[in-house]
Amino acid sequence: MMRRDDCLKVLALRRSDEIVVATYMAAQEWIHISPSELNYTCIGAMGQASSHALGIALGRPDRRVIVLDGDGSLLMNLGALVTIGHAAPRNLVHIVCRNNTYETNGSVPIPGADQVSFTGLARAAGYREAHEFEDLADWERAVDQILIEEGPILVELRMVPGDPYPEDFRRLGSLDHREAFRQALLGDRLKG
């Protein structure tokens, strides 16, 4: 089984100017693995990461937007799959870090852990593509193509937690970082 931080490192190596929206455990690791002003982290109202990402993707159709969602988080906002499928942002890649637990909340199993298919749900909701990986080498081989495919795309990464990273919820909810993100994007648009 893949480790989450290994999966994220694979993505970080391919990242250029993509916006990355991250939530909870993936966010705690991503800010260390790929620090950037173009990281948008969200906590506080669980399940909302993909909705933040949709807003960003619609607002900046010229930029690739990747959302690092959790399985428990997505279950809390499943209608978002249909909303995204209907809005059909071509620039959105929705990555679900699947470890079958509410890891932030005590590693209690998610309901439907043995049954639910996020790729199946995404296809039925109107996503253009959906991929599932449980082997790191397969993920490494596919990621370049996924980052240029027309979206919306859902990627389900079956994983286990990897190395521990320091938790910093204050950073994830930081208004200073949010404003830096806004300014980076606004500056980019002015330059464009």
């Binding site: 990461a49 909705s51 960003i56 607002g59 909303t83």
Partner: protein, 171 residues
């Protein structure tokens, strides 16, 4: 002498929304506003309507749009507002996002303040917003729509949410 009946014109509301610089509408249909407001907004070539499956998605979509420099309005029924309290708390209030919401008060008795309604769900809307420290404005007659743009401008200036309550059914 018969008192003049004052109406709330959908065209005036839409003009106010546009004056505020809003071009994205995030919406879930509300029978109080669907026919005259939402359908007109969907047909308006100047506006982009994003339909959501649940109202709390809209709080975050509006926040994402704000992060990219766009202004947006979440259009929903008061039941959706009540259902979205945690997202408004966590995303709009605590993370200081200027989420602007237009909320239909379906079933409000004509000429009645929401807090005086016979309907429990309507009576609690303004008190809930007050407890959450979310500014709100009641649109009852056409003259009230003159305040839409300034209320939205103020929300963006302070980077916090605002709720525009649609009391009368727009015509």
């Amino acid at each position: 002498m018969v008192a003049e009946v004052q109406s709330l014109e959908a065209a005036s509301i839409i003009a106010g929304i546009k004056r505020a610089g809003i071009r994205f509408i995030v919406a879930l249909p509300d029978r109080h506003t669907s026919a005259q407001l939402l359908r007109k907004l969907m047909a308006d070539p100047e506006m982009r309507v994003v339909q959501v499956c649940k109202e709390d998605e809209g709080v975050s979509i509006c926040s994402g749009l704000y992060a990219t420099g766009h202004r947006a309005l979440l259009l929903m029924q008061y039941t959706g507002l009540l259902d979205s309290v945690n997202a408004i708390r966590g995303v709009a209030v605590e993370l200081h996002n200027p989420v602007c919401m237009m909320v239909g008060l379906l079933g409000l008795e004509p000429g009645t303040r929401p807090t005086q309604s016979k309907r429990y769900g309507l009576r609690i809307v303004e008190p809930v917003l007050d407890v959450m420290e979310v500014p709100h404005l009641l649109l009852e007659v056409d003259a009230d729509t003159a305040q839409i743009a300034s209320a939205i401008d103020a929300a963006y200036a302070r980077s916090g949410p605002v709720v525009l309550l649609v009391g009368a059914e727009p015509v």
